[in-house]
Symmetry: C2
Amino acid sequence: METHQFLLILLIILLAARVFAELANRLHLPPVIGELVAGVVLGPSLLGWIEPVEPIKLMAEIGIILLLFKVGLGTDVKRLAKTGLQSVVVALVGFGAPFLLGFSVGYWVFGIPLLVSLFIGGTLTATSIGITVRVLADFGHLNTSEGQTILGAAVLDDILGVVLLALLYEFSIGGGTNLNNVAKVILFVGTFFVLAPVAAKLMSSIIKHFDEKSSVPGLIPTMIVSLVLFFAWLADTMGAPMLLGGFAAGLALSRRFFLPFGAGLHVATPAFAENIDTKMTPIVHLFTPIFFVTVGLSLNLQEVDWGSSFIWFFSLSLLVVAIGGKLLAGLVIRQPWPSRWIIGTAMIPRGEVGIVFAELGRESGIFSHEIYAGMIMVIALTTLLPPFVMQVLYYSFPLLEKEET
Amino acid sequence: METHQFLLILLIILLAARVFAELANRLHLPPVIGELVAGVVLGPSLLGWIEPVEPIKLMAEIGIILLLFKVGLGTDVKRLAKTGLQSVVVALVGFGAPFLLGFSVGYWVFGIPLLVSLFIGGTLTATSIGITVRVLADFGHLNTSEGQTILGAAVLDDILGVVLLALLYEFSIGGGTNLNNVAKVILFVGTFFVLAPVAAKLMSSIIKHFDEKSSVPGLIPTMIVSLVLFFAWLADTMGAPMLLGGFAAGLALSRRFFLPFGAGLHVATPAFAENIDTKMTPIVHLFTPIFFVTVGLSLNLQEVDWGSSFIWFFSLSLLVVAIGGKLLAGLVIRQPWPSRWIIGTAMIPRGEVGIVFAELGRESGIFSHEIYAGMIMVIALTTLLPPFVMQVLYYSFPLLEKEET
């Protein structure tokens, strides 16, 4: 393809992503919704101006790997230990309930095949750490006890979701669901999750060493991106999705990640971690919108039969499951009732992680256009509604603990 | 192409670029030499592991556009006014002499066709601001009177070189050299150079406005890259090379660029300019090595007939011209003799700008493999030798003014 044409497409994608993200923000919606809509508007669903050509798709792929790297970088393994049991309960119920309910609705109510139903359940498990954190911070409740519980649960949900994603991905590659595959994936993903952070930590200590010695500028961006690409490639080689590699690399480099058996490897000094964050953030910000716009571009709403009652009934049922499952997670723990509702509501947004799941389902041919469109609608609504509901809850229960300012 | 395979190629390119750049630095050579060698080693010249596939080439293209953006951003139009006449003389002689001598040697001595000879002369005009600044700073002579003269001349040389590049590029597109073409290119490039900074300045004021208002993170990286891509696309549309667009956008956003007729548009406040610099630098650092490695990958030294006396005689003649032309530029001005030698020597490195010229010649089919290989050798030697010579000069003339520390 012509360089000229490629630059124009990239330019339009970046520009449209920003304009729609700003519009979404004006309407008090998460910016990610705006980026998806930008893709829908530019793509075959509406204007048909742009199609996701190969170089754009590859840059989008880098975008999602880098985003998961940043999520990993922001993941605080220690926080989970602090908020403890409550986070674990919220995470497990908030993971298990939507998965089982989503699967059941798909398999038993709609008679959808096993693998597809499993993917539907899987798509409903995720909690978008990014959106949850953003909403809590906007309301000034991030550092409260329920804020901590939510964060811990969201972190754990992310890990569970990614492992489940890997598992289902392997099923879809293998074309079926047998115990050998399950064992193999658990072994691979387990090995990867145990070894990758150790390896990434070792490599980051090498990078840190050279960063202190080198007088050639640009070491951090090129070497950290190389590290992330390496683990993405490694994850893929081991049968896990690439973004798992990005997440593992981020986890290992996060300021608060400590190896259980490697006290000598505490290389992530605050200065080095901050340096990585400062230099990687603009790169992540550049590539990430390309992914979300590409997701929108891949969605052809014109191919969906909007007249069929199936898609409406299907989406509505799953929306109830998606909301109910997460609310249940908040209600089963021991906290004051307002806190339980807040926690449950805060866990509802699926955001980018849900979209990644749905996108994988679509790309591997597991999701038909109808089911994919239904899932996207459910994800969009779960992402859009909670901020409004939380606003109402915080106004209704003014006695809820507030952050000290 | 497979995402898996693409990530691996990108990873190897970034990693090799860094390793060879660090090695070059250890040997007191400019890192850009290391990156070129990395490409030569990985490419068909030596190992043949990697070929520059399309998505990599497109990312390389973004890399060189962004690098020229950064050169523009660092260009200080005011400094030229300060160092004044001496810089102008050094720039004009250092531009004119290598061009005329290079052209003459090609056309009259070697009987090379007109357009090719013009391109040979053009390739010899550039001065690598990056390398020159780096070398002066390393020796602690950047803020001396001869340092200022060199910088001013390098800046002007860059603009002259880019205009000449645009001119010759247009010739090569048109397939000939007629007065209409010359007039058209001067008109287009002139219009572009007058209007682009004004337009970029206006756009950057819009970006600044939104940056202050927006709470959606990532505005600077996406919008500045969009701005640069837009001007690259615009330059290409007007018949100028894309990197000219990147340079113009950088020039307009540079801290010290003031519009002659637009006092109200002085939007580049120090804080905003610094913000742009902080966020764009990692992105530039990530993409730039991809370009230089890709240049190395495109170079097939196995296709060069090393046994032919032509290539040796040709390179040697041009090397003499390339060095002599720039030394002459230093010698014609009124300064103490040691300063004249220092100035002349500091202007010699061709670096990335020379490579861009040679690469354009190769891509458009103007340079044969022999001539291209010869030019690359000349560029490499002019880039490698001056740091050593300057070290010797500074030791031999210890009375030369030093920077206050």
